[in-house]
Every structure is written in structure tokens, then in C-alpha cells.
């Protein structure tokens, strides 16, 4: 509780905003339609996906274009578990464990590289998963020597369909309200843990690696090991997002592995601001709404997303949250909730 008190004292504005947001989110099912709940659940899992990706991009300085691999592994693992034994917590844990394992294996190869190489390799490995899952039965047949019938393990090009949401300790998840609350709690815990992580010594060492790799190495910290830890944590967040997605949609197809899926958290993060904690969260919500809107009116949604990216990079480089913190937040604070220890121009992560 001490920690909470300290936060309340030092970051009052943020706390007020946060409490309001949580209250609104909790009250949502009382007045919102099922579609709105569906949308919010989607935004929540995209948020988890984006936070994980931003741990690599914003905090450690590694741009991964292959996060869809772990997102997909989480989604497919959860789907297989739910089809075998309809328990949502088991599916979530299984999805996270599977993606952690996948991230560890791929991570051991890719963290040896940085910058451009890292991006290219993650992109290529992501696509390996995309190709591999469609041909999984053929590959298994060759490895084991036993003929595995087509589309039985991962459903080939169609993926897996009719996945039940299962139950949580006998509480059925079929209703949208229940699943929304479940996702909200899981996401809340995950976001809280993420916040603690990036403010912990481990999280600070990630940021130190981003700022100066050689200084970190001189300080006696193993850069490669920390990158691997970061990569695995990012993978677990992606896997958690994928598992929640499976429960929400009830189907999972190989497109979850496609590199365009990897682009979602990157664009969201960029939209919100990659050097801020809340950036990926706000960005995910805005990205989802923009995409939802664009899909309705035009088939050239890629162009819309592309234009948003170009405009953000060339124009609003700090993202929405970044710009808000630099320009609007100081005014907001001065007017409504003057913080005790506020210093002008101090960046708070």
C-alpha cells in the first residue's frame, strides 16, 4: 500500500486520470452495447500486444517485425487447449508458455544481432512461422515418418474454427460481458506488472541498453542476456494477446502469423508515442478505431495506415501521448491538480 500512497502523492494527475478510466471501463457493460464491449476487448488485447512490442522498440531500442510469430503461437496454443479442454485460464497460461518457449528459441538466434539485422531476422522468422503453420501437417509427416492427414493439427490454410470460450472455474465465458470483465482483469494485471517492470532495475537496464550499449557492457551487465530476457517478455505479452484474441473471435487462421499482424503493435505504438508508458495503450485504441472506420469506407486501408505512419513520422514525432505530455499536460496540471514535486520539463516515464 505504501507504493500506492507514494504514487498518489507524486503523480496525482496521472492517478486521477487512471482511476477515472478504470471506473468508466468497469461501468461500461451497464450502458454499452455488445459491439462496444467487443471493440474494447479487442483494444485491450492489442494494447497488451503493443506494450510487449514497445518493450523492445521504445525501451530497448530493437524494432521487431516478427512479433506476430509469438502472437500466433499464443493464439494457436490457446485454440488447441480450448478445443481439447475448455478452460480459459489454462488456455491463457498455455498460450503464454508456448510463446515464451518460441521467443526463447528464436531469441537465442536473433539477439546476437542489433538494429537492421535484428529487424530483418525477426521479419523472416515471423514469415517462417506463417509458412510453417500452413504446412504443419506435411512437415510433421516428414519429421515423424507417419502420415499426418492434412489440416488436422493447425487446420492448414483455413486455421481452426469453432473454438469455445470455455469456462473459468465453472463460470461460463460465453457472454460478452463476462469475457469483457475477464479480459479487463487480465489486461489490468498485465499492464500493472509491465509498469512495475519498466521501473524496476531490469527495466532501467533495458533503457540503458537503448541509450548506450557499450556503457552498459562496461558496467558489467550482459547486453545479450538482457536483450534475450526482453525478447522473451515481449513474446509472452504477444502470446497473452493472441490467447485472448482466440477466445474473443472463436477462430484462428494462419494470417495471425503474417507480418502485417506484426505491424499492428508497431503502428499503435508509433501513434501513441513510443517513449511514453501510456503511448501504446492510447495508440492501440486510436489505431483500432481508425482501422475500424477505414475498413467501412474504403478497401485501400493499407494506404490509410501508410499515410498515418508517414504523417506521424514526418510530423508528430512524439506520438499522441508524447505530444500531450509536452504540450497539454503541463497546462492541465497547473489548472486542475498541481503536483507537489513537479519540476518543469521533467520527463516522467
Amino acid at each position: 500500500m505504501n507504493w500506492f500512497r507514494k504514487q498518489l502523492q507524486t503523480q496525482r494527475t496521472r492517478f486521477i486520470l487512471l482511476v477515472t478510466l478504470v471506473a468508466v471501463m468497469l461501468a461500461m457493460p451497464a450502458f454499452a452495447s455488445e459491439y462496444i464491449l467487443y471493440m474494447l476487448t479487442s483494444i485491450l488485447f492489442i494494447t497488451l500486444f503493443s506494450l510487449g512490442t514497445n518493450l523492445l522498440l521504445g525501451y530497448t531500442g530493437l524494432l521487431s517485425f516478427g512479433q506476430a510469430a509469438f502472437y500466433g503461437v499464443g493464439a494457436f496454443a490457446a485454440a488447441r487447449i480450448l478445443l481439447a479442454y475448455p478452460s480459459m485460464p489454462l488456455a491463457i497460461l498455455g498460450g503464454m508458455a508456448a510463446s515464451a518457449l518460441a521467443a526463447l528459441i528464436i531469441g537465442l538466434i536473433v539477439v546476437r544481432h542489433t538494429a537492421i539485422y535484428f529487424t530483418m531476422l525477426t521479419l523472416a522468422f515471423g514469415m517462417l512461422f506463417y509458412e510453417g503453420v500452413q504446412k504443419a501437417e506435411l512437415i510433421l509427416s516428414y519429421i515423424t515418418g507417419v502420415k499426418v492427414p492434412e489440416a488436422t493439427v493447425f487446420g492448414g490454410g483455413w486455421g481452426l474454427l469453432d473454438i469455445p470460450r470455455g469456462t473459468i472455474f465453472n463460470l461460463p465465458m460465453d457472454s460478452m460481458v463476462n469475457y469483457y470483465y475477464f479480459t479487463f482483469i487480465i489486461a489490468g494485471i498485465a499492464i500493472f506488472l509491465f509498469y512495475r517492470l519498466v521501473h524496476s532495475p531490469l527495466g532501467l537496464s533495458f533503457q540503458a541498453i537503448r541509450d548506450s550499449e557499450s556503457r552498459v557492457a562496461f558496467a558489467g551487465i550482459s547486453v545479450r542476456k538482457h536483450r534475450l530476457i526482453c525478447f522473451v517478455i515481449a513474446g509472452v505479452f504477444a502470446g497473452l494477446a493472441g490467447a485472448i484474441r482466440t477466445g474473443l473471435l472463436g477462430n484462428v487462421d494462419p494470417l495471425v502469423f503474417h507480418w502485417s499482424t506484426s505491424a499492428t503493435p508497431i503502428v499503435s505504438t508509433l501513434l501513441g508515442g513510443m517513449y511514453t508508458f501510456a503511448g501504446p495503450i492510447v495508440g492501440s485504441a486510436i489505431y483500432y478505431i481508425i482501422r475500424d472506420f477505414v475498413f467501412r469506407y474504403t478497401f485501400v486501408w493499407q494506404m490509410a495506415v501508410g499515410l498515418v505512419i508517414v504523417a506521424l513520422v514526418l510530423g508528430l514525432s512524439g506520438g499522441i501521448v508524447g505530444s500531450f505530455e509536452q504540450k497539454l499536460l503541463p497546462k492541465f496540471r497547473a489548472r486542475f491538480a498541481p503536483d507537489k514535486n513537479q519540476k518543469a520539463g521533467k520527463t516522467v516515464y
Partner: protein, 287 residues
């Protein structure tokens, strides 16, 4: 045995296409220090424009290729001037994300411009037909592609080693600040090199127009193999890109001969193995 050799020739043709894409990527990276995510889109534009000039406007094949290359050179010029120049000082991640956005815009531009109709790729009459190699019929156009790939390698080599412009490119790629200090206009050089790299991509695209169907997703489809090629051959090494492209093309073709699933995963397997043994790539210096 003849079957294998024949299969290897097919793989070599595919490898040459990989090389034509990877060549421009390598030059743009070497000089500008930018990994061009939109490079595959320039290749796609080359392919589409050649198709338009040749089939729809009824031009001579050579002229169609030339015009396609020149137009994409123009696109490259605009891209460098308005998108890349403002972000040279920004971090690598930001540059990659911006070019990714450009790639998305280009993909949908092609979709709007040429639609989703897939037309059967026309082969110019002079290069149509087949010839007998190893007791089998082999398309003449494939031989032309292999020849063109090799020619492009020697032309680039010649430019980089024998011309003043090529030497300034090499100077800028080994030490940008020093090159600038001895009076090389870096801004102009960046623009011309990027146009050159775009033109090579367009040349590859134009030549592969009769070989594969032009479609809006081409730009995004070819960029991943191109990344794999430059990662295997070491980023920034032209010889590396050529060798890696041929290696990947041939091994994929031979692998597919024995195990059909190799067609999609051989490339990634080669990349994984090479990068575990030599993280810097086949032709890179140890870091």
C-alpha cells in the same frame, strides 16, 4: 543427374531475380545507410509499368523496359527528396517504420492504378519459345534472365570501380564524414545513388514481368526474400548478395526436388544455419 542440373538451372533463374532485387537494396544501404523497406514496391512498379508500356501501349520491349526504369528512377528521386531527406538524422527504427508506411501506400497505389485483374504475362517474341538443354526444353527467356543478372553485376561493379561517381559512392559508404570533408556533395550523391538503386529494382521488375504475374502484393512478397538474401550474404556486400541469391535460388529448387515443403522453408533454413555459424553473413567481416 540431368534432372538435378535442370532443376538447378530453374533455381538459378529464381536466384537471379532475387539478386536483381537485393542489388539495389545493397547499394541503397551501403551509401545511404538506409534499409529500404519500399524497395520491393519499386520492383513492383517496374514490373507494372513495363507491362503497361509493352502490352497496353504496344511499345517495343526494350523501350518499355527503359521507360519503366526511367519512371521508377523518378519515383525514387521523389521518395528520396521528400521522405528520406527529412529523416537521415533519425534513428534506424524510425527510418524503417517510415519506409514501411511508404510500402503500404505504394501497394495500394498499385491496387488503385492497375486493379486486381491478373493478365497473363506476355513474353517478347524474340525471347519466346524454348531451347533444348540436358534433353529437356528450357525457356529462352530464362537464359536471358540469367544473362541479364550477370550483366547487371558486372555493370554495377564497373560503375563502382571505374567511374568517378562510383568511387564517390564507395567513399561515402566507407566514411561519410570524411567523404564530405574532401568535397563530395553528400546530398547530391545520396539522391543519385538512391535513384540508381531504384532503377536497378525497376530493371529487375521489368525483366521479371514476362516471368511472373504482376500484382499489387508483389512489392511486399519480394521484400522478405530480398531481406533474407542480404542477411545471408552480409548487408552491404554486392558479391555477398549475388552469391546468397544464387545459393538460395538453387538450394530451394534442389530441395523442392526431394522434399516438396522445401519450397517455402528452404530459404529460412539456409538463413538460420548461416546466421548461427556466421552471424555477420557469408561475406561480412567479423564484428
Amino acid at each position: 543427374m540431368a534432372d538435378l542440373a535442370y532443376q538447378a538451372l530453374i533455381g538459378l533463374t529464381q536466384g537471379m531475380i532475387y539478386w536483381l532485387i537485393a542489388a539495389g537494396l545493397t547499394i541503397a544501404f551501403g551509401v545511404l545507410g538506409i534499409l529500404n523497406f519500399a524497395h520491393g514496391s519499386l520492383y513492383m512498379f517496374g514490373s507494372y509499368l513495363a507491362l503497361t508500356f509493352y502490352q497496353y501501349l504496344g511499345m517495343n520491349f526494350g523501350l518499355a523496359v527503359f521507360l519503366a526504369v526511367a519512371s521508377v528512377g523518378g519515383i525514387g528521386f521523389l521518395l528520396e527528396r521528400f521522405a528520406l531527406r527529412p529523416i537521415y538524422a533519425r534513428s534506424l527504427e524510425i527510418q524503417l517504420i517510415l519506409l514501411f508506411g511508404v510500402m503500404l501506400i505504394f501497394a495500394d497505389t498499385a491496387l488503385l492504378g492497375w486493379g486486381t485483374n491478373l493478365s497473363f504475362p506476355p513474353v517478347p517474341p524474340l525471347l519466346a519459345g524454348t531451347t533444348e538443354i540436358l534433353g529437356r526444353r528450357f525457356p529462352i527467356y530464362y537464359i536471358f534472365l540469367i544473362g541479364a543478372g550477370v550483366a547487371v553485376f558486372f555493370v554495377i561493379r564497373g560503375i563502382l570501380e571505374k567511374t568517378w561517381w562510383g568511387r564517390t559512392m564507395r567513399a561515402a559508404s566507407s566514411d561519410r564524414e570524411m567523404a564530405s570533408a574532401i568535397g563530395i556533395n553528400i546530398r547530391t550523391l545520396f539522391a543519385t545513388s538512391f535513384v540508381f538503386a531504384s532503377a536497378i529494382a525497376a530493371f529487375g521488375g521489368a525483366l521479371s514481368m514476362p516471368w511472373r504475374i504482376s500484382q499489387p502484393s508483389l512489392g511486399t512478397d519480394v521484400i522478405i526474400p530480398a531481406f533474407v538474401v542480404v542477411a545471408v550474404g552480409s548487408l552491404g556486400s554486392l558479391v555477398g548478395a549475388l552469391v546468397a541469391a544464387i545459393l538460395i535460388g538453387v538450394v530451394t529448387a534442389l530441395g523442392t526436388f526431394y522434399v516438396p515443403i522445401m519450397e517455402v522453408i528452404a530459404m529460412y533454413l539456409i538463413m538460420t544455419i548461416v546466421l548461427i555459424i556466421r552471424p555477420q553473413g557469408l561475406f561480412g567481416r567479423a564484428r
